[in-house]
Symmetry: C2
Subunit: 446 residues, 2 copies
Amino acid sequence: MLDFENLSKLLEENKYKEFMKEFDDINAIDAAEFLSQVEPSILPKVFRLLKKDTAAEIFPELDPEIQEHIISAITDFEISKLVDELFIDDTVDMLEELPANVVNRILHAASVETRAEINKFLKYPPNSAGSVMTPELVSIHASMSVSEAIERIRKTGKEKETIYVVYVTNKARVLKGFIELRDLIFSPQDELIENIMDTSIISAQTLDDKETAVSLISKYDLLALPVVDTENRLVGIVTVDDALDVMEEAATEDIEIMAAISPTDKPYLKTGVLQLWLKRIPWLMLLLISSTFTGSIITHYEAALGSVVILTAFIPVLMGTGGNAGGQASATIIRGLSLGEIRMGNIFRIVWKELRISVLCGISLSVVIFAKAMLIDRTSTMIALVVAISLLITVILAKFVGCTLPILAKRVGFDPAVMASPFITTIVDALSLLIYFQIASYILQI
Amino acid sequence: MLDFENLSKLLEENKYKEFMKEFDDINAIDAAEFLSQVEPSILPKVFRLLKKDTAAEIFPELDPEIQEHIISAITDFEISKLVDELFIDDTVDMLEELPANVVNRILHAASVETRAEINKFLKYPPNSAGSVMTPELVSIHASMSVSEAIERIRKTGKEKETIYVVYVTNKARVLKGFIELRDLIFSPQDELIENIMDTSIISAQTLDDKETAVSLISKYDLLALPVVDTENRLVGIVTVDDALDVMEEAATEDIEIMAAISPTDKPYLKTGVLQLWLKRIPWLMLLLISSTFTGSIITHYEAALGSVVILTAFIPVLMGTGGNAGGQASATIIRGLSLGEIRMGNIFRIVWKELRISVLCGISLSVVIFAKAMLIDRTSTMIALVVAISLLITVILAKFVGCTLPILAKRVGFDPAVMASPFITTIVDALSLLIYFQIASYILQI
């Protein structure tokens, strides 16, 4: 663990030289964490002390509020130095979070080339591969020898996001192949790149969905994924560390949507109460209104319920179990779709599988509830039978609804994660009550 | 996309030479996918055609059934060659999936050193950092010069899992620092390693939880994480590609547990019906039994319900909304705990935040249900009031239960994901009914 206290003390006592000595050893992530809790008034001063490249490493890791605070306190010239030092993808990420006036000031301060580059990247849609790539890559030509390629890496690689994979392009910048630095190191120095480069290229297009793009990095264990335009010209790369972030975000988004929350992009503790309320209330309201239909089913069978009140006692069991059984199926399918393990074409296999699982689950649960009704609740055999049969049918229907709706949602272009437990439960609640009352009126003749 | 059809045709026509020419260009992942759908009878033959190192790359990517099939068809000598070529971590992963007799045959065929190494790795607990690390890393000494270090990488790095980060150890193998290959390449060739190595080491211990370990890789954007034993001796590394797999698995596990499913480690379509049933039924059974308590609350208030049957119509609304509101809070907290954004110490801040959100949500929902009861269901003002007040209190309690239980579960050493929607819903169902009937008997004097 880092000695944050000691660092703070050095700052308080104005021992900047010693502070810089200690601070210089820290990695960018921990350094940003430390700066986040430094007194805001002295923050710009501390930031100014940092070396240019250290500052550029730390800056993208800071919270937007802190970035804004620093930007507002430093000169345009300092901003321009900072932005020219940052990786383009980090700058673009940052600009997307900052308020418009700050963004304008940064763009204004940046050099002409940097500004043009930033503007190009800001144009990619937020969920595209283009929006997470960086143009800072090393490219070589197929006609180079290994030693020439290594020389080129030495000359041009210093400011690049990675040098461990270099890309082979022709004069029109069309991607022809790639080679890992490790292969360059273990190959004879006079070997030609064209003889040893890998031509089975895995790549994404700028407008591809970013989650699909990063799934290639995880599937093929890549250090970086090349991103090309429609004419197959290399325009950027997505590195594995950015892929990790995208994957983490995607899983969080899935979990939030599955819990009926509109996805947030900020950590919980940093999100305001009103914002959190806004992310949750539309779904709660929608589900509330849907559940009133379930209520009206009860109203409809009011007479039956009045005559056999014990029936009401099993409503929570039926609704609860139905919701849980459907939720299991939908969560499994949603995750499978996210990971690409399940495709639209698998729908019949899935339904057949879930049907068998649901019969097994339904029978096991029905036997237990029948025994419980007879032995503990001491209901009549007929009522126990009504409950058991209803439960069996509810479980089968719940699993069917749970496994088909996510696939159908994807089919019509919705996020399958919407069809998770809350929605499935609401639908299954209504279905289970309908089944229950129908079977009750039939068997009990009410 | 790959031309699987053409490859199959070449095989069918026994054109092995042409087949090998085409097949050699394919990456290991796609090659494994192709082999998975080759006729099992000719599979061992095809596998034998592969070059030694190609075979070793493809083998770990195959399904356990196919691995077993190949192992059973090749000689002990061939097994020994294959295993010596595999990375230790891949071998260990593989052995964990194969049946005991196959494992024994593999261990028997392996060279003495490989077998000793494998056995050492098999001893790490399944969820430990040790179980996902590989010993195949490059280590150097602090007294080397840059050019000596690069020379050592050239000599020893070829079979290592990565050469992009090399580790500085002393004679006792204690980890002293690390350096990236890129820094070696951009440094003066006669510079000493001790002057340029990075000593702010981020590392894990062999027995650390593997998810905690890989979260360091994602937090600090590492290419590999060094793993040390209790005496700080370097014993292995976890590379970023393995971290991606662990993260993906961890997210899947969270989602499964949150949906009341015991986690599986196989893709859905490859898991049998009975296995899936076994993963789901214990939770359904447990939740079924819990929900019968909710049922007995209804039985307890049977008299009240009999006199004002319209009360029953609002049960689904109350139970459903309570479950959804609680599920939102618990999903948010569970994910925050998983990502390390939320810690035990935040509990009071979280409860205070959720309290305010729940009051906002509760009031919005109560107003709507009050209006609905009055205007659409045309209930008496008193009944509408009972429903609205019950809903407000239910939502507040649900969010409280939803945000505290995951943290408390973690506190006592359970997986917080258990405290997701299904459990929260079951608890909130009972609570909401108790509140509802209490308020009803008080206000309606029944």
